[in-house]
């Protein structure tokens, strides 16, 4: 039925370059520049999709990305608007929501049951009996939804980009272009956003002549950043806008915003108004002008404004027979009407569409005269509708602006607009080209003046417009669709109102009108007019629904953007990976969990020597005379008498006495200290310490974060002294370098700080060295330990050994309610100190007594190892939970730590752990499990 028209100005297709793609498996010929929809239309296709509920055939309606009628699946991407997606060679396009085929869809039989599917039927139908819900769900899942999501699809690359401009203009129609030019003339940073591939707005398809060329030429002059194919999605506080272009989400900060987003042409309501071949005037103009596609052969144009006449004249000029033009108004003085009358086109003033006739495409249109006369039936294969405009005022509303209903124009127009926002063109209800340009210029200048550049222009006075919405005199028929997305009819709206849904917001939710893919762009004006009619209110009294971002559907990948999950690598990371270490995340750090057999790693350390990468430890230097006082305040234990070269374990709590972090600190020199923290607590503790330093405790203290400057490793095991001795001439004997001391020495040519401490309970040396030398030192230590069969060990082995030794891990064995008195660290807390963070709270807890305690336990059955987090139960009630649990290869027992009520925390108490849904007995024991006297550690 459709075909290519002869070439004409304004075309975006290249007639010399053709290619093929497929639609439902059949080849489709396309020209370069075609959209999927224009190529399909040129190939003669009328039906593009099936409706959501009744599976009625649907054809092109708006051709501008607003309606749901051309949604298709492109490869593995569902719900692609065929009228916006450029056709590409080899593209595999398929129809959606049909069975078995688009042209022969058996699911259309659902329409026979329409009487049983009134508005809101699913709320009432699928709730009883409850036992049938699984069946309902199965059926609903089969029938509902559009398109198919392929779970193995690759997300592809998405990214976000921040943009900053003085003036952002949304919409590159005549008004928007003038606004951008006016702002750019005052040398501000200006961006112009346009969702279409080219600038020019409606001129591109209504009048692609000199006016358009002149605007384009002027636009090429000043420095304006033009973003085409880019849709502004929404607007938030402080002129914060978002926009999407392909896989990029722009986050835009604007000084002032000019909204020139245009208006969306509206359809008429009449019986079978959804048949293929019934199109909006702008759709046929786009098809003919941009893509050279003949939309039909015999057209009837129905209109309520001059835009319909313009479209009718374009149709006639491009060789389409215009059977008649039916105008709801009493008269029009537009130039096109005169020309059409002179050329003999039948003109029917004060006529409205009554019904369309046809099966898979419109064949006739019935027109009803307003004087009550007999209906007129006109044969046609194309009905062109110009039913008024819906201003695209979403960005105004989202910015806090208010709309008002303009009775004469039948449009909701921006009234009160937010500060720094200016509205121009069709969105402001201005439809005459000259006025649009003048208002655009005014808006651009006003935006500049708002930003303090140039004088404010005189207020713009909009001319009286003729455009207005359609008259609502509806026939009492069933197939009169208001919402094409959800197949909501006029009758559905009436029924919903009768059920009490009189508010437009409630009506929307109950009927689902405006909740489909078009998001109200084709139906919101009709629905609120109908709501007004059935509740005897004016549209202004009914009001609009709340406009929320995003303005168009957006892919989740675009919202997610580029995957940016920072990961931190130690200087030895690549060595671990190369040796097949299983890596794990610890905070942002990547750490080796183990190198294949964590139990063997434990045995190797206990019997010989092992090496672990501890570069992730927090490492701070504190300098100044005030450091001892500061340490006294931030730790619960004493620091004043720490001697140079000594190391002490410390515990930090917050004001509430809750355990924050632990680690060791050492005195390097008289006024110089080294503090270590847990790996994951490092950044938080640094910030916490800085906060206190800058809040009055900083006198004589300078805190420097050296975490990244040093690599660290721990050489542990009974043979560690022997191995370390091969790399230094320093005296490592227990007398010369005792437990809990620090020495500075050169190891394999690297200056290091060595601390005789360890988490494993073995003779250990924690070695800090300059970061860039860490790998070298690591390899030298391994070389030195070859004879002693040194093993590398990971976090898992370390955790087993620290559990055997009864050391707690802050954040694992403690949580946001754990205090050191309950956690078995009472020996560390010095309540007699003058003051420290958490002292008051801990003093109170000490007086009142603790309610629960962290204890060690041994499972009665050594083969049962509870999961961490499992419950400790008593008389069927949860009374505690397991925080650490491992099988100890050293003790050959299942051991762990758990929180239990204080009354069963004594050694020898029997507790019950609910693990894998079975109750298992365990005995509370004294900590540590291994080497309680610390002989191995201190030797």
């Amino acid at each position: 039925m459709a075909e290519r028209l002869p070439p004409d100005k304004g075309e975006v297709i290249d007639r010399q370059r053709r290619f093929n793609f497929s639609f439902d498996g059949r080849p489709v010929r396309a020209q370069v520049g075609d959209t999927i929809a224009s190529a399909l239309a040129a190939s003669g296709r009328s039906t593009f999709s099936r409706s959501f509920k009744y599976h009625r055939p649907r054809g092109l309606l708006c051709c501008s990305g607003h309606c749901p009628n051309c949604l298709v699946q492109v490869g593995d991407e569902p719900n692609v608007r065929a009228c916006r997606r450029p056709a590409e060679p080899g593209l595999a396009v398929t129809s959606q929501n049909v069975w078995p085929t688009l042209d022969f869809d058996l699911m259309a039989l659902l329409s026979l049951g329409a009487a049983f599917m009134p508005v809101g039927f699913y709320y009432k139908t699928f709730i009883r009996p409850p036992s049938l819900w699984p069946l309902y769900e199965l059926v609903i899942r089969q029938l509902a939804g559009l398109g198919k999501v392929h779970l193995d699809s690759r997300a592809g690359l998405h990214f976000k980009q921040y943009l900053h401009y003085d003036v952002v203009v949304v919409g590159a129609g005549p008004a928007g272009i003038e606004a951008a030019l006016a702002a750019a003339e005052r040398e501000l940073r200006v961006a112009l956003f346009e969702e279409e591939p080219q600038v020019g707005g409606h001129l591109r398809y209504t009048d692609p002549g000199e006016e358009l060329e002149e605007l384009k030429q002027r636009l090429a002059g000043p420095a304006i950043d033009i973003y085409t194919d880019t849709t502004v999605l929404g607007r938030w506080e402080e002129n914060w806008l978002s926009a999407v272009r392909e896989n990029c989400l722009y986050k835009i900060r604007a000084g002032a915003v000019v909204v020139a987003s245009g208006a969306i042409e509206q359809p008429f309501l009449f019986e079978n108004n959804d048949l293929p071949g019934i199109m909006l005037a702008q759709a046929v103009q786009r098809l003919m002008t941009l893509y050279g596609v003949r939309p039909g052969r015999q057209a009837v144009v129905v209109t309520c404004n001059d835009a319909g006449w313009k479209a009718a004249l374009q149709l006639k000029e491009r060789g389409v027979e215009v059977v008649a033009v039916a105008d709801q108004r009493t008269q029009t003085n537009c130039r096109e009407a005169g020309l059409l009358r002179e050329s003999g086109v039948q003109v029917l003033m004060q006529h409205s569409p009554l019904a369309a006739v046809g099966a898979k495409r419109v064949t006739d249109l019935m027109l009803r005269p307003h004087d009550g006369g007999a209906a007129v039936k006109l044969a046609c294969d194309l009905v062109v509708m110009a039913g008024g405009f819906l201003p695209r005022s979403g960005l105004v509303s989202q910015g806090g602006g208010k709309l008002y209903y303009h009775e004469d124009q039948g449009e909701f127009l921006p009234g009160q607009v937010p500060a720094g926002t200016y509205v121009c063109g069709r969105v402001a209800g201005v439809h005459q080209l000259g006025a649009q340009k003048a208002q655009g210029r005014w808006a651009g200048q006003a935006a500049c003046a708002y930003l303090g550049t140039g004088q404010a222009p005189t207020p713009f006075e909009a001319p009286v417009e003729e455009a207005r919405g359609p008259l609502e005199q509806l026939p009492d028929v069933k197939n009169l669709f208001v919402c094409l997305c959800e197949d909501v009819t006029v009758k559905d709206i009436e029924d919903a109102v009768a059920e009490g849904y009189r508010s437009i917001e409630l009506l929307k939710r109950y009927s689902t009108i405006s909740m489909g893919p078009c998001q109200g762009r084709m139906c919101s004006m009709h629905s609120l007019r109908l709501c007004g009619r059935f509740t005897e209110r004016t549209p202004g009294e009914v009001g609009t629904t709340t406009n929320r971002p995003p303005m168009v559907p957006v892919k989740l990948g675009v919202l997610a953007g580029q995957n940016m999950e920072p990961v931190r690598y130690t200087p030895i990371h690549h060595w671990h990976v190369a040796r097949g270490a299983r890596m794990m995340t610890a905070g942002l750090w990547m750490r080796p969990e183990h190198y294949g057999d964590p139990q063997a790693e434990v045995r190797a350390v206990r019997s010989g020597v092992g090496l672990i990468d501890l570069s992730t430890l927090g490492k701070f230097e504190l300098q100044g005379s005030g450091v001892p006082d500061f340490l006294e305040k931030v730790y619960v234990n004493r620091w004043q008498k720490l001697e140079v070269g000594r190391v002490r374990y410390g515990l930090m709590t917050n004001d509430e006495g809750v355990v924050l972090d632990d680690g060791v600190s050492a005195r390097l020199e008289d006024e110089s200290y080294l503090m270590t923290t847990t790996s994951s607590g490092s950044d938080g503790i640094y910030n916490n310490l800085q906060w206190w330093l800058q809040s009055g405790w900083g006198e004589g203290v300078i805190l420097v974060n050296r975490t990244e400057d040093f690599g660290a490793m721990n050489l542990a095991g009974p043979k560690s002294r022997h191995v370390l001795g091969r790399l230094t001439e320093a005296d490592l004997s227990a007398e010369a370098f005792p437990y809990m001391h620090l020495r500075e020495m050169e190891l394999a040519g690297v200056s290091c700080r060595v601390l005789r401490i360890g988490f494993t309970g073995e003779l250990s040396y924690e070695i800090h060295c300059p970061r860039a030398a860490a790998l070298h030192l690591w390899q030298e230590l391994l070389k030195a330990g070859e004879e002693d069969e040194i093993a590398v060990f990971g976090v898992e082995a370390q955790r087993v050994m620290r559990l055997e030794k009864g050391h707690l891990i802050v954040g694992q064995d403690t949580d946001a309610t754990s205090d050191p008195l309950s956690a078995g660290m009472q020996w560390l807390v010095k309540l007699e100190k003058e003051d420290f963070l958490g002292r008051w709270a801990l003093d109170r807890i000490s007086t009142q007594g603790v309610r629960s305690r962290l204890v060690g336990y041994v499972m009665n059955e050594s083969t049962v190892v509870p999961f961490e987090g499992e419950q400790v139960v008593r008389d069927g009630n949860t009374v505690g939970w397991v925080t650490s649990s491992r099988y100890s290869p050293t003790l050959e027992k299942s051991i762990g730590m758990c929180w239990v009520p204080a009354d069963c925390a004594g050694p020898g108490s029997q507790i019950t752990i609910l693990t894998r849904d079975r109750e298992r007995l365990a005995e509370v024991v004294e900590l540590p499990f291994f080497d309680p006297e610390g002989h191995r550690l201190k030797c």
């Binding site: 940073r189 990961v567 690598y569 130690t570 942002l588």
Partner: protein, 186 residues
């Protein structure tokens, strides 16, 4: 020889390494590109912190974000009590009764230069700053790809100075963000 925190990654990208001042410095075949990433982690960086930091770097007039070229190197003011010294050779000298700590952070930090005609586009994909207001010779401490970086702008390029442990992540993230900007390592 000292290795940059990016050594392993750049090696996997085909970098050649040359010795320079005790460091293995990566080099790539020069090519025209929209954005170039260059590893400058071998360059000396000092952190001068404390109430006497300004006196130690002899630039008491610098306000946060400003920089000045001195014999000891390029001095950048981050806070009134925190300065960075890039390159150069001399040591900042804390004054009596004006305490300051001078720390060599060359190994603990990485320095990545983002350069080229489309550097601003790349940076705007990983950082929310308004780069039109990011003057030459100025320093800002900000979030870049969700990491804290000290960003210094000179000759149109951006020097990102941040934790060494994050360098490889940052390099990879920048590379991915610039996949359509003709990005190349230099």
């Amino acid at each position: 020889m000292l290795r940059s925190p990016l050594y392993d990654h750049l090696k996997s990208l085909g970098a050649e390494f040359v010795e320079e001042d005790g460091w293995l410095k990566a080099s790539f075949v020069d090519s025209n590109c929209g954005v170039a990433l260059r590893d400058l982690s071998h360059r000396r960086r000092l952190r001068v912190e404390g109430p006497g930091a300004a006196a130690a770097v002899a630039t008491t007039k610098l306000t946060p974000g400003e920089s000045a070229s001195r014999k000891m190197g390029l001095v950048l003011c981050s806070r009134p009590d925190l300065f960075f010294v890039l390159g150069g050779e001399g040591e900042p000298q804390p004054k009596k009764n004006k305490p300051a700590v001078v720390v060599d952070i060359t190994q603990g930090t990485a320095e990545i230069l983002v350069d080229g005609p489309r550097a601003v586009v790349l940076m705007s994909r990983v950082c929310g700053l308004d780069f039109a207001e990011f003057a030459e010779g100025s320093l800002k401490t900000t979030s870049v790809a969700k990491t804290t970086q000290h960003v210094y702008r000179i000759d149109g390029g951006f020097h990102l100075i941040g934790n060494a442990s994050l360098a490889e992540y940052l390099w990879k993230t920048l590379s991915e963000a610039g996949h359509d900007l003709e990005l190349a390592p230099r």
